[in-house]
């Protein structure tokens, strides 16, 4: 083996190490950004080495060069533009899109190699066929599945679980076709059958994700992310490229663990999610009663007074804040209160909103200082010493029902809002949250409900504070 290729291999190994180190550093907020840089360096090294390899090998048609260059340019431009312009809160669907293209590319690598070998006529070794089949199947499923997932989160496709009679059966059929075809290919090589397998896999990806509720998408995306990694590793087996094998396996495994962490955080189980669960994204409209038994409503002015004369206020943001895009309004109100000497902090529940870190992303957008955002464990003891807990579009994460067994959210750690001296809840109705269950907090005598859209409500609160006690 020539020294040149040896050097290339060593660079690949170094690149892989950069990826590992990068992920390692990403485990803590303090070092996360450096982690991303290290990982980037590894990627650049790997690609550069490959470029050198390609040039070194030579014998590439001019067209191929042009096509490759064009592809890279187009792809990079698309990636750069979308990444730069995307709304913070729309990032999950973008990540999903990147999964799609990643998986697609992996499948294409396998497909092309298979075609090449088929052209050569000589039979294809099993040790090549097996990874090829796995590569195209996983890659194709990821591609179509991720597109659907992105569509659901973007609202292009209804986020409600789509299901039709015989869906399960169709799913099964497609799986059988894909796997059966793959098995067949091991004995006899046939490009046609490979195409069939690919099509079946693509269809399967669609039918797999469609029935899943939009709220579960973050988990699904993470899962598809792990899939992509595995597909890339398989592609690595096909073309005997260690960089692909190592990096792919790395993502496959870490992505898997991450998926589990995510699912645990919002106490759902992965199989549970794939089979399709309760997460319909926002069942609010369903139950749009404006008031219920024993619920006391409150007007802007009274709420404003309470807040203005409190000495300690904790703001509890939830999905509703994101839905209303009211991040700037809440920041403004908080600043106003602070300027009056009120101590204001934000209580961030790990799964408030619809994606992990949703609230952090949202409030960061409104330039709320990161130190003011307190994690659940840190803030929970504080509620007892709090005059007013201002709950904005948060529901499940404040629901005391989680403390007793037998409810949809039993066991999920919650924010101890009910410990606060008084509680103001801003939401449009008595509508349910993601878990679709009633919230006893709203019936708590200490609680007063401010029924309105979060954006409007916060705006009027701010002006009320200004006029009344400015």
């Amino acid at each position: 083996m020539s020294t040149f290729t040896t050097v290339i291999q060593l660079i690949y190994l170094a690149a892989a190490s950069c990826f590992v180190l990068g992920l390692h550093l990403m485990n803590s907020p303090a070092t996360a950004r450096r982690g991303n840089q290290v990982s980037t360096i590894g990627m650049i090294a790997g690609v550069a080495a490959t470029l050198a390899l390609v040039i070194h090998q030579g014998g590439i048609t001019a067209t191929a060069w042009i096509v490759l260059l064009a592809g890279v340019l187009v792809g990079s431009a698309a990636g750069l533009y979308s990444a730069r312009t995307v709304q913070m809160t729309a990032m999950p669907q973008l990540v999903s899109l990147f999964n799609a293209v990643g998986g697609g590319a992996a499948a294409l690598v396998g497909l092309h190699d298979y075609m090449r070998l088929a052209d050569l006529g000589a039979g294809i070794k099993v040790s090549t066929t097996v990874p090829t089949v796995l590569d195209v199947i996983i890659g194709a499923v990821t591609f179509s599945g991720s597109v659907i997932a992105a569509g659901k989160l973007q609202g292009v496709i209804t986020s409600a679980p789509v299901s039709f009679p015989g869906a399960r059966a169709l799913n099964g059929l497609l799986a059988v076709v894909a796997i059966g075809g793959g098995a067949y290919l091991i004995s006899t090589s046939s490009l046609g059958v490979l195409w069939l397998v690919i099509l079946a896999a693509l269809a399967f990806g669609v039918t797999m994700v469609l029935p899943i509720g939009g709220a579960d998408m973050p988990v699904v995306i993470s899962l598809l992310n792990a899939f992509t990694g595995t597909a890339v590793a398989m592609a690595g087996f096909v073309i005997n490229n260690t960089a692909l094998v190592i990096a792919g396996a790395l993502v496959g495994a870490s992505g898997g663990i991450l998926t589990k962490l995510m699912a645990d955080a919002m106490n759902r189980s992965i199989p549970n999610i794939i089979v399709g669960g309760f997460g319909t994204g926002d069942s609010a409209v369903a139950a749009a009663v404006t008031s219920g038994a024993g619920v006391q409503a409150i007007a802007a002015d009274d709420a404003a007074i309470q807040l203005a004369y409190a000495s300690k206020v904790i703001i509890v943001p939830g999905y509703g804040l994101a839905a209303a895009q009211a991040q700037h309004e809440v920041a403004e109100l908080a600043d106003l209160l602070e300027s009056r000497g009120v101590e204001v902090t934000y209580a961030i529940h790990p799964v408030a909103g619809r994606m992990p870190g949703h609230m952090n992303v949202l409030l960061a957008e409104a330039n709320v200082p990161y130190p003011l955002l307190k994690e659940m464990d840190e803030i929970n003891p504080e509620f007892a010493r709090t005059d007013v807990a201002l709950v904005i579009g948060a529901n499940d994460v404040t629901n005391p029902a989680a403390r007793r067994p037998g409810t949809a959210i039993s066991g999920m750690p919650i924010l101890d809002v009910d410990q606060a001296k008084s509680i103001i809840v801003i939401k449009r109705s008595m509508g349910h949250g993601y878990a679709g269950i009633d919230n006893e907090l709203y019936l708590n005598p200490k609680t007063s409900m401010y029924f309105a859209d979060a954006k409007k409500a916060l705006a009027s609160l701010t002006s009320a504070v200004k006029t009344l006690v400015g």
Partner: protein, 129 residues
């Protein structure tokens, strides 16, 4: 040792690394981590580039183009978006003027706030018990 076996070995070892590298992560980091892993599988660009070595007909070129485009979108987009997500971990001054929409104004905001805070505390003492 056969390349197949070799690949399998490093595959398994890499699985272990990936399995161990994700430790207890604050939920806030889940999405950035996912995005980081996402950009790493952009390494498939290497595979796409190698297609160029053997692509020599229309179909080959189409595949090459699409694969290259897909892969590089994954790489570039992935790293940029991860970077953006991580920006939010930059510690900002303990508070800032509400309508300072841009991070640029933050420092100014911070200092300005120093005063507002002082004012705030006094007004706080002034307010009814």
């Amino acid at each position: 040792m056969s390349t197949g076996l070799f690949d399998l070995t490093i595959f398994v070892l890499s699985l272990w690394v990936g399995f161990e590298v994700i430790s207890k992560v604050p939920a806030t980091l889940h999405t950035p981590l996912m995005s980081a892993a996402n950009s790493i599988h952009g390494i498939v660009l290497v595979g796409a580039m190698l297609i160029a070595l053997t692509a020599n007909d229309a179909v080959g070129y189409v595949i090459l183009f699409v694969a290259a485009a897909f892969a590089s979108m994954n790489v570039v987009g992935g790293y940029v978006v991860t970077g953006r997500m991580l920006k939010m971990f930059r510690r900002r001054p303990a508070a800032q003027v509400s309508d300072s929409g841009k991070a640029a104004e933050v420092t100014a905001g911070g200092s300005a706030n120093g005063t507002t805070r002082a004012a705030g505390t006094t007004s706080a003492s002034r307010r009814p018990a």
